[in-house]
């Protein structure tokens, strides 16, 4: 066995043990839903920082963002403004959500929507949207692990990495079932430490080996200019073409609105012990965004290093194999696998919470006994679905569905985020708006598939003589809001009942 494989094995086995040991953290009764699903809402600033960082900046992110830069140039850098402006949103919106969730005992976003609007259909729509957006996300984490296993080779590569993936999956499901949110919270410390070590090493060593950033950007620009370009499109480069300004801004803005309404983000945020912990983390989490920004630039390093591959997602592991000794590449591989296990566990818990608390039965603040048990079983079911997804379907399906999932996820924004401030919208109008947004987003994505042969995240909207290439999720949100507002006016005119609101103004106050 090589030194890299030994280091990899030690780290992965070590965190598995941690995942099971985490059940004893704080001597909690894990039969209690709050304890299993949210770690008892007792995490302080430090634990929350590692947990949220480990949850939001997934291994897939760290692989896919450089891949996007490698393929699309400057456009791929939208992830950086996105991961910047998301934090003011957390600071204001999610801190308010934490307050009302703590007072009323919510575990999911759909719990809040049910309590606020008293509408069962809207609750189910919100919950199902979260679950279908989470599934392909989990599948992508598993795919990331499989890529590493097949690259290590030997026993790990057996059956194209599927055997090792099967084992990793059983372990993931078992400790999540056993320890709940405490497992990923504890493992996140190791994950984030490994990610920081490997990424900082990479951004110091690799550009220096390539002759400095100035040289990296010049070579990358030359490499992209030499590519064949489809007629009617601007070539990728180290700067944006003016036609893509609107796409860049709308992708950053639309993504920043949806990041924190994903079920795994909500789960990690609600585990914080106070509103202050969330606000302090909003100021501290950008450290990860800085890391992501520098890591993104590895996409240009790969171009400058002359790395040519059909699978852009392989460029980060390829750079590590090329510029680092074997033992360090083993460390980087462990970082990717552990970096996938943390968010996969939280996503499974978040999706299971939605199913247990909002779909199978409606939200009740009493939390009947047995709900925890149902959520625990559902975690296993969610993991199994994601595994079947990975084994049965081509990788492209997971990527496409994750893209569509982003557009779908944003459609709960009016009911969830506007609902935190106003009860003006009529619940049925919000449901109609949601449906309009889902249809618009899916329709636009399908149109790009028909026009270009693959699903994209931007759509060229023709307004008279003006062509606006913009983020599909945001166009869909505009359609959603327009329908919800018009329908509310219509319901008001018809003097329709607005349903009951379980919350009071005091529930939102500090």
């Amino acid at each position: 066995m090589s030194s890299g494989t030994i280091i990899f094995l030690i780290l992965v086995v070590g965190v598995t043990v941690m995942g099971f040991v985490a059940a004893g953290w704080g001597k909690a009764n894990l039969q209690h839903f709050d304890e299993w699903a949210l770690g008892g809402r007792r995490f302080g600033t430090l634990v929350s920082w590692f947990l949220l960082g480990g949850d939001l900046y997934t291994a897939y992110t760290f692989v896919a963002v450089p891949a996007l830069i490698y393929g699309a140039g400057a456009l791929g850098f939208f992830a950086v403004p996105y991961a910047t402006i998301a934090y003011p949103v957390v600071f204001i919106l999610l801190a308010r959500f934490w307050t009302v969730a703590k007072k009323r005992g919510y575990i999911t976003s759909a719990d809040f929507v049910r309590d606020r609007y008293g509408d069962r259909a809207l609750e189910i729509a919100i919950a199902i949207t979260g679950v279908i957006a989470a599934l392909p996300y989990i599948a992508l984490q598993l795919i990331g692990m499989k890529t590493v296993f097949s690259q290590i080779g030997g026993a790990f590569g057996a059956g194209g990495g599927f055997v090792a993936l099967g084992i990793a999956f059983v372990v993931l499901a078992a400790y999540t079932y056993n320890s709940g949110l405490r497992a990923p919270a504890m493992i996140a410390f190791v994950k984030d430490a490994l990610i920081y070590i490997t990424v900082i090493a990479a951004i110091v060593v690799i550009p220096a080996a390539l002759g400095g950033w100035g040289h990296v950007f010049a070579s990358a620009q030359a490499a992209m200019a030499a590519r064949p370009v489809a007629p009617g499109t601007a070539p990728a480069g180290i700067l944006l073409s003016p036609g893509m300004y609107f796409a860049y801004a709308t992708m950053a803005f639309g993504s920043c609105l949806s990041l924190f309404i994903y079920p795994h983000s909500i789960t990690s945020l609600l585990a914080a012990k106070s509103k202050f912990v969330i606000q302090r983390n909003a100021a501290l989490l950008p450290a990860y965004s800085l890391l992501l920004g520098f890591l993104a630039l590895l996409g240009f390093c790969a171009l400058a290093a002359g790395i040519a591959t059909k699978d852009p997602n392989a460029i980060v592991p390829m750079l590590f194999a090329k510029y680092f000794p074997d033992w360090f590449a083993g460390l980087a591989n462990a970082a990717i696998v552990i970096g996938a296990l943390v968010p996969a566990a939280i996503m499974a818990i978040g999706a299971a919470n939605l199913l247990a608390s909002n779909v199978f039965k409606e939200f009740s603040a009493q939390r009947p006994p047995g709900e925890t048990r149902i959520a625990k079983y559902l975690t296993l079911a969610v993991c199994a679905c994601a595994l079947i997804f990975v084994v049965e379907l081509p990788v492209q399906y997971a990527i496409t569905l994750q893209l569509l999932g982003g557009a779908w996820m944003l459609q709960i924004f009016p009911a969830f985020a506007f609902g935190l401030y106003t009860r003006w919208f009529h619940p049925t109008a919000l449901l109609l708006g949601w449906a309009a947004g889902m249809l618009t987003g899916s329709g636009m994505a399908y149109w790009t598939f028909r026009a270009t042969g693959k699903f994209g995240s931007v759509f060229p909207l023709q307004l008279g003589s003006l062509k606006l290439i913009g983020f599909i999720a945001l166009y869909a949100l505009i359609a959603n809001l327009a329908v919800a507002a018009l329908a509310t006016l219509a319901f008001n005119a018809a003097k329709a009942s607005k349903g009951t609101d379980g919350t009071t103004a005091q529930d939102y106050a500090v």
Partner: protein, 64 residues
């Protein structure tokens, strides 16, 4: 209620990063990084500092 007025400061990162013509230039470069890149990375840091400042100005004595 008065303290909430500080929240308006948080519009700054949106204005600064969501208008690409502002910063879509190669020059001036810093350590070889084109302006486009270091400007946006700088805003990651500035946003973090701004959030910290707003937190200090709006926190209640009982916050822990």
């Amino acid at each position: 209620m008065k303290r909430r007025a500080w929240y308006w400061l948080l519009i700054a990162p949106f204005v600064a990063t969501l208008w690409p013509p502002f910063y879509n230039h190669a020059d001036p470069a810093l350590f070889g990084l084109p302006f486009f890149y270091w400007y946006q990375l700088l805003w990651v840091v500035l946003t973090s500092l701004l959030l910290w400042f707003v937190l200090l100005m709006t926190r209640e004595p009982k916050d822990v």
